[in-house]
Symmetry: C4
Subunit: 212 residues, 4 copies
């Protein structure tokens, strides 16, 4: 497209461009977040006559509910994050698309980590599963930082009217992702503590993270 289109067309073209990246990403986010429910398996109807056996079976699924809750909130927060970041982005280039794809790959991978965590919460090998889970979070945090750093280092990808003060604010917020590294390290001491920190972060970000 070497021909120079007029400004109006350029704007429309740009919008369309990031529009499809956002649409594709939204699709992956939406599917990844919805597939999480498939990991909670319905207890097999048994032959027991006593009224409380299904209640017990449902209560014993708490690791699945917990893992579901943490991962759902985390993906939802990441979607809001993606939404906010791409509101500032007007153009895409190949490196941006590649980083975005890697990010989506690990968001999808969270389905595996979540199922692993749920299946091993009551098992002696919980520590391994918790390391995989928090490790996935560390990789995700790293990719978010990389993506944001790349975009701010290539200002032509950003909308021209983005306030530099806003970029500083976001830079500061991204620094909090060091907490995922702490959660990962905490698992070596106490898996429960590490998972609790990830849950706390998911709830904290879900409630407080500003969309501006």
């Amino acid at each position: 497209m070497s021909a120079e289109p007029n400004t109006m067309n350029q704007v429309r073209q740009d919008e369309k461009e990031t529009g499809r990246v956002e649409a594709f990403s939204d699709g992956v986010f939406a599917i990844a977040i919805t597939l999480l429910i498939l990991e909670i398996r319905v207890p097999e109807p048994g032959e027991g006559e006593e009224a409380s056996s299904l209640v017990t079976a449902l209560l014993e699924l708490w690791p699945s509910y917990l893992a579901y809750l943490i991962s759902f909130l985390t993906i939802a927060v990441m979607w809001v994050n993606h939404h906010n970041m791409f509101r500032l982005i007007r153009r895409t280039d190949n490196a941006l698309l590649f980083l975005n794809s890697l990010l989506l790959m690990f968001i999808t991978f969270l389905n595996f980590s979540t199922a692993l965590l749920a299946d091993y919460i009551k098992h002696p090998e919980l520590q391994v599963a918790a390391l995989v889970y928090t490790g996935t979070m560390v990789v995700l945090a790293g990719l978010w930082n990389l993506l944001w750093r790349y975009v701010t280092a290539h200002r032509h990808l950003l909308a021209s009217n983005v306030d530099p003060a806003l970029i500083q604010t976001i830079n500061r917020r991204y620094r909090s992702s060091i907490l995922y590294v702490i959660a990962f390290l905490l698992v070596f001491v106490s898996p429960a503590a590490g998972i609790a920190l990830v849950l706390a972060m998911a709830v904290f970000f879900a409630i407080t993270a500003s969309t501006r």
Copy 2:
């Protein structure tokens, strides 16, 4: 984005903003409604020679068909509901996104409740499964009310030309969600009656709920 964009851009920006929330929500709705079919499992090909054994096996799947029908209609009605609510919304803030995420989480959870209901309809512990199912509906009804209350309490989130009379009408309509609480309580007396009420509501809303 402290810079003051002109009104035209503002409008476009706002549209784009709710646009992505709607697109993401549409994705979750579409996936949640489509995954329901995975809960109807094809009967294993047996070795019987008599022509009627597959017919019998297919007929015995009626709890799955019934649960599928109720949940599909319910999610479809909720999608129309979401569609209508967001036609009035022009801006989003973090609390709105959070409430919307919680709503989507329980819509997704309906897949689990539906599978549970289908597996236990012919089982002595149907009551427990029916309580989980109608309980999920109660939570969903509560979240819808919360979301609508939040939006109407923060008028700047609504389009400026929304007629106050329309808001009153919707307020009244939302009050009918008390019927889900009645369905939940009815399950203690008769699980079948509770489920029948939820089905009746799904069909009623699907046929009559006005899009205006």
Copy 3:
């Protein structure tokens, strides 16, 4: 929304309205068509040493490939159909949304019918499975006709510049859906012939159906 917006806003509003119905429908079409692949199950790695055992196992999956092909083409053709129909539609009302939801429900149900057909093609009870499969097609054809009839009977739902001759052409085309009834009836004589007719129609429509 009793306030009278100006024409420009009206147009935008209308576009947005059908836009979301189309987006939601696209989502369901895309998911239903993609989930089909989950029904083709990878053969278990056996212990046989002879080089041809996986080849044999893959070849024996032909009923799954065939059912996958027919259903994929059918859903793809129906998506094109939906796309073409909604290009003419400018407004939606509740009945339209309801009919559209029923249509999507049976498109989703096709996943079950397809799995059933694939599992029973080599089984003595193929006839039952083929009746369910072609029966699903008959219901779908009926819903398409109903949807189109509803829209043409309520002209205010259509774009104002739709050529009446075009409507006549589409009316004629929809009459060909009687072939699905013939396929259904043919199954009573020969299941293979009935399925072959559905396949032939999927290929024929996929290749020839005009988008205008």
Copy 4:
């Protein structure tokens, strides 16, 4: 639509038209890429007490991770490809929609080929699985070429301001898809080498493929 709409409407109509094809395709891409994770199955919690048994089980899943990585990158690259191709396309016709559907069918089929490859990497019959996997890639490469050739042979489908030099550049790039045929043939000599070539291509295209 025989009535002649004004140019402005024509542009909007065209945009909307390719818009829905892109939205539907994005949906299929997003779902196909996300479903890949379902093929990595969580190891069953065993009864072993020794701390390393889950670590071992997770490490032994490497064929699944590898197949996941290759297929994820491949689908991501194809999505970028689709995105770039449709940025140049302004109109659709039935043949284009049909070719696009076939393309989506084989992208979906990649889920099956990926699962097959992962399950057979450590099995004596890896060659058969690798032939199916690289064969799927060959079919996909062929369909991409066919689609691009069709579009360039029917210039009215392209945007009027597309630079002929750009078309030449893309023509050259598409020629590299011959490498998939080489990967397929390589499998007859060494399955590992054939798969390595496909992986190398996925990484190479993911990093270097220009979006212009």
